[in-house]
Amino acid sequence: MKFSFVSSKLLPAVLISLVTISLFMTFLIFVSKAYSTDTISHTETTSRQSTNPEAIKWGFFSAALAIGASTIGAAIAVGLVGSSAMGAMSERPEMAGRALIFVGLAEGIAIYGLIVAIMILGKI
């Protein structure tokens, strides 16, 4: 009951926040990249792009958002897939192996975020 109350009241807000965060994160990645390229061309110091304090700031911020947003998404997916898997396993324990594969797939969403974050960090 508590679970359904939480999901019914907070779910729309969580979803809207997630979409907003994702859009904002994408925007930040492009802006920070463009900003850093612009600064580099002006100062003609291509080898020292990571020392630009603004680019570093937005880069870290984007990496944090990538991790955070993807982890929330993965949490929702694992919540859904995991409870379904438990439901199926409670009646048919032989389904455990197959059900765990789907939980793993849902968990993969967080790993995509981690990879994006690593790529961003590699650029700064």
Binding site: M1, F3, S4, S7, S8, L11, L15, G79, L80, V81, S83, S84, A85, M86, G87, A88, S90, E91, R92, M95
Partner: protein, 359 residues
């Protein structure tokens, strides 16, 4: 909205689908209909999900029927445990139908007793419901001396009220019929109240499936009251259910006043029931035809959106019809009747015929 439903029903939907996968398949029914004798039936059942439930039962036909019912009640228990709020109350009320059936048997036993004879062995006529969910103790009720005492013992449950109201008819007629009808009418009135307490979307789904059950009972009762009891139209209307899917108050009125079977069929024009009832005027076969329609409706709903109460209600329809067919098969086997003689009594058989004719 969809994600909210997915959160609410992810566990329930997966569990119900697992339970559904353990129901008997068409091939199981075909195998069972070919064999004869208790041993053959047991061998067939051991190749199904019933194999796991085998150890605790007496090796007899009665033991088998007891096992079927306990399987049905354990399915209800599993469903009830998963739910909360109004949905739980609805399914609990659906389960109480079996408790009500027990109460009817107790009323028949008590009212037929002329003297205070031994009560041993009478509980064998009762369904063995789970004690933890019981509203009353069947053992205590069986010790009652008369119906008034039963009503006294049922204080605090919903069963007492309808029995109290129909007591004067019982005193006049000396038959349990008014008591049983009062229980039925009150049960279905309460069921509709439980359906109405669901959210708008779920209410529509539940009314769609359970409304058909109301229609089926109304048709069956009107048919039986006319053909076997020769009731007046006013009395028939008095004993009809207020709600339903296709049968409006006006249509029920016309059905109650219909002069013969063909007139009844004409009054069902515009509903799916007319076609189903056109082949036979045997009430039992008509009832099974109507149940096969309910089964086909549940199967159709089952293929739709999974995260809704319809999934649960559809599964319970499948399970109840499975148990009903299994009991018919077992009884046919006990009486050594050939499959051809009894096939009209199997709902899955009617369903198969209907689905073939519509394809």
């Amino acid at each position: 909205m969809m994600l909210k439903a997915a959160f609410q029903y992810s566990y329930i939907n997966a569990k119900i689908r697992s339970l559904k996968s353990m129901l008997l398949k068409r091939i199981d029914y075909e195998n069972m209909s070919r064999i004869s004798g208790y041993e053959g039936l047991v061998e067939c059942l051991k190749r199904t999900s019933f194999a796991l439930k085998w150890k605790n039962y007496q090796p007899s036909f009665d033991g088998l029927i007891q096992m079927y019912y306990e399987d049905l009640f354990s399915s209800y228990d599993k469903v009830i445990e998963m739910l909360s709020g109004n949905r739980k109350k609805l399914i609990q009320h659906l389960y109480q139908k079996y408790e009500m059936e027990n109460l009817k048997v107790i009323l028949r036993i008590i009212s037929s007793e002329k003297s205070n004879k031994k009560l041993t062995g009478k509980s064998r006529y009762l369904l063995s419901l789970k004690k933890k969910t019981a509203s009353f103790s069947a053992k205590d009720l069986l010790k009652a001396k008369n119906v008034d005492e039963i009503i006294y013992l049922l204080q605090g449950t919903w069963y007492g009220e309808p029995l109290k109201h129909s007591l004067y008819r019982f005193a006049l007629e000396k038959e349990t019929f008014p008591l049983e009808m009062a229980l039925d009418l009150f049960y279905y009135k309460r069921l509709w109240q439980h359906i109405s307490s669901l959210s708008y979307r779920e209410r529509k789904i539940a009314q769609n499936l359970l409304g058909v059950q109301y229609d089926i009972l109304n048709i069956f009762w009107i048919f039986r009251f006319k053909k076997m009891f020769y009731f007046s139209p006013e009395e028939i209307l008095n004993y009809s259910l207020m709600h339903g899917k296709y049968l409006s108050a006006n249509r029920r009125l016309k059905l109650a006043y219909s002069v013969d079977y063909n007139d009844m069929l004409n009054n069902l024009i515009g509903t799916p029931y007319k076609e189903l009832l056109a082949y036979s005027d045997d009430p039992e076969i008509c009832y099974r035809k109507l149940l096969s329609y309910k089964l086909s409706l549940a199967r159709k709903n089952w293929q739709g959106f999974p995260f809704q109460i319809g999934t649960i209600l559809d599964y319970l329809v499948f399970k109840e019809i499975e148990i009903r067919d299994l009991i018919s098969l077992t009884e046919a086997n006990r009486l050594s009747l050939s499959f051809d003689k009894v096939k009209d009594y199997f709902i899955y058989n009617h369903y198969a015929e209907n689905s073939e004719s519509t394809n």
